[in-house]
């Protein structure tokens, strides 16, 4: 089967700093891929290039066989590649539910529904329900129902993370890129949050790529690991193999557990 996402020979430099150097990876459909590496190794640059925030200096990214290298984030998102953020990107003056409704509203708008002349409550594409019901359903899945009328600004860190990811689920992603989904979350909460996320994602049937520093989380949830160092992928294998790799132990795991 052809990969859902195929990055080939991506290069990106910021002045003298090389953030990506011949990065290539083909991601299989419905797989769960973990990205590891120290800060500045190029993980987020990889995500930024796939989601269109950064344009690679050279190389190509194909999604379902289609070249998406030059597309802006909104077009890539419309195709079904969505991301969450290391620092949650929320609409802080709106309530949790309004955050969801804004995301679902964009889905409606892009589908040409819910416009000025459409009355009633149209179904959000992919959710088979009006926006209010779809919002409540997603919030329930992420355990956010009881917080729905709170301002996003006042949510505790873990909840903010979950809402950030729940917002991406509104777009019905086929590929979901999670940038450090458990950073800023207490050690006890980490597995619970990851479990919740993976269950929600599995229910939707999406391919997942996630950045993670905790190797226990990586081994537990990822089927394949890409280890980044200095803008390159230095290992690409199942977690047990990658974590045993000498280079990975020296440059990634070693430094993390030092």
């Amino acid at each position: 089967m052809s990969p859902i996402l195929d990055a080939q020979g991506l290069n990106k430099a910021f002045g003298a700093v090389t953030a990506a150097q011949a990065v290539s990876a083909a991601i299989e459909r419905d797989s769960v891929v973990g990205l590891i590496g120290t800060n500045g190794a190029g993980k987020t640059t990889f995500i930024n290039m796939i989601t269109g925030y950064l344009k690679p200096d050279s190389g190509s990214i194909r999604y379902e066989g289609r070249d998406i290298t030059a597309l802006p984030p909104r077009d890539i998102s419309r195709l079904g590649i969505c991301r969450s953020f290391q620092i949650p990107q929320l609409y802080s003056s709106l309530t949790v539910r309004e955050n969801m409704l804004t995301a679902l509203g964009i889905m409606l708008h892009n589908a040409g529904r819910g416009g000025f002349l459409s009355f009633g409550r149209p179904d959000v594409p992919g959710h088979d329900a009006p926006a209010e019901e779809a919002a409540d359903r997603i919030l329930a899945r992420f355990g956010l129902s009881e917080h729905r009328d709170k301002n996003a600004q006042v949510l505790p860190g873990g909840m903010r993370k979950l809402l950030d990811i729940a917002l991406t689920m509104a777009a019905r992603p086929r590929v979901l890129l999670l940038d450090e989904p458990t950073s800023g979350v207490s050690a006890e909460e980490k597995f619970g949050i990851m479990e919740l996320i993976m269950q929600a994602v599995k229910a939707e049937g999406a391919t997942v790529i996630f950045v993670e520093h905790d190797m226990e989380v990586v081994s537990r949830f990822a089927g394949r690991v890409l280890a980044f160092y200095d803008g390159r992928i230095i290992a690409d294998a199942p977690p047990e193999a990658v974590l045993k790799d000498a280079e990975v132990r020296r440059y990634v795991v070693g430094t993390l557990h030092a």
Binding site: R74, D75, Y91, L94, T102, I106, M107, F116, A170, A171
Partner: protein
Amino acid sequence: MRPDRTPATLVAILAALALGGLVLPQWLLFILTIACAQGLVVLGLSLLLRAGLVSFGQALFYCIGAYTAGALSRAFGVSDLLAQMLAGTAAAAAVAFVLGFLLARYRGIFFGLLSLALSMIFYGLIVKSETLGSTDGFNLAKATLLGVRPDEAWVRYAVLLAAACLTLLAALLTHRFLRTPLGRLGPAIKDNEIRVEYMGASVRYAIHVNYVIAAALAGAGGALAATTVGHIDPEMAYWTTSGEFVFIAILAGSGSVIAPFLGALIFGAIHTTAYDLSPNTWQMSMGVALLAAIVFLPDGLWSLFTRLRAAGAGPK
């Protein structure tokens, strides 16, 4: 969900104006009509404010609306209020559609100053134009309503009633727009533009649409003001006029399409009283009023209503 009471409230206000207008003095009818005109401009301004954009040049579209009405009256002898307001709306919207391609790229102080610059360019153009009356401007023929010229004693009342009906329509349409997914994007854009783009929406497009609607409303307001006052001059595009609109917007606060009209009415009342009491220092009184509004009601007059409603609902 709370039921939407705005349309009913707007209709009730219209009914109150229609009845009250029969007994109110002529000068007050005039102030109410001008409040409709200014309220329309501020309603547009508030759309931009929701998205975090402050236009210091909304007088551009106000003036375009006014001069379009003036041109219709002078060149074609069209003095019908409805035709003038429609033409003013269309002209302002058309100009905003073109300018929007430039303006939608800017945020913050750049958006504010660019909008100011454009209004001052327009001001400079009409000041230099002999055909448009230069700095003196020109007078408009008395308004007709659907081809009928109201009796002299009733003309203020008739213009107010017609203006209030058209204003009601504009407010209802704007209210409707604010409940569409595109209309709801304003606060999200203000909060987190990058997230909006990452969710698959074009921020530039959304701002462009808001900009054109804001201009259309300002154009309608300008045409109405022109007919009501019976005279137009380049001051309508001057930056102090834009400043007044921002003043009213801050005084009014956001949260309802009714707020701008309330703000404009209070503004008119303060302005008239201040001018009446002290013709030489009225600007000072206005300054004090604005200061008081910012200090005591940072979210504007409308926040009084939302607070009352919250208190009425009781603790949950």
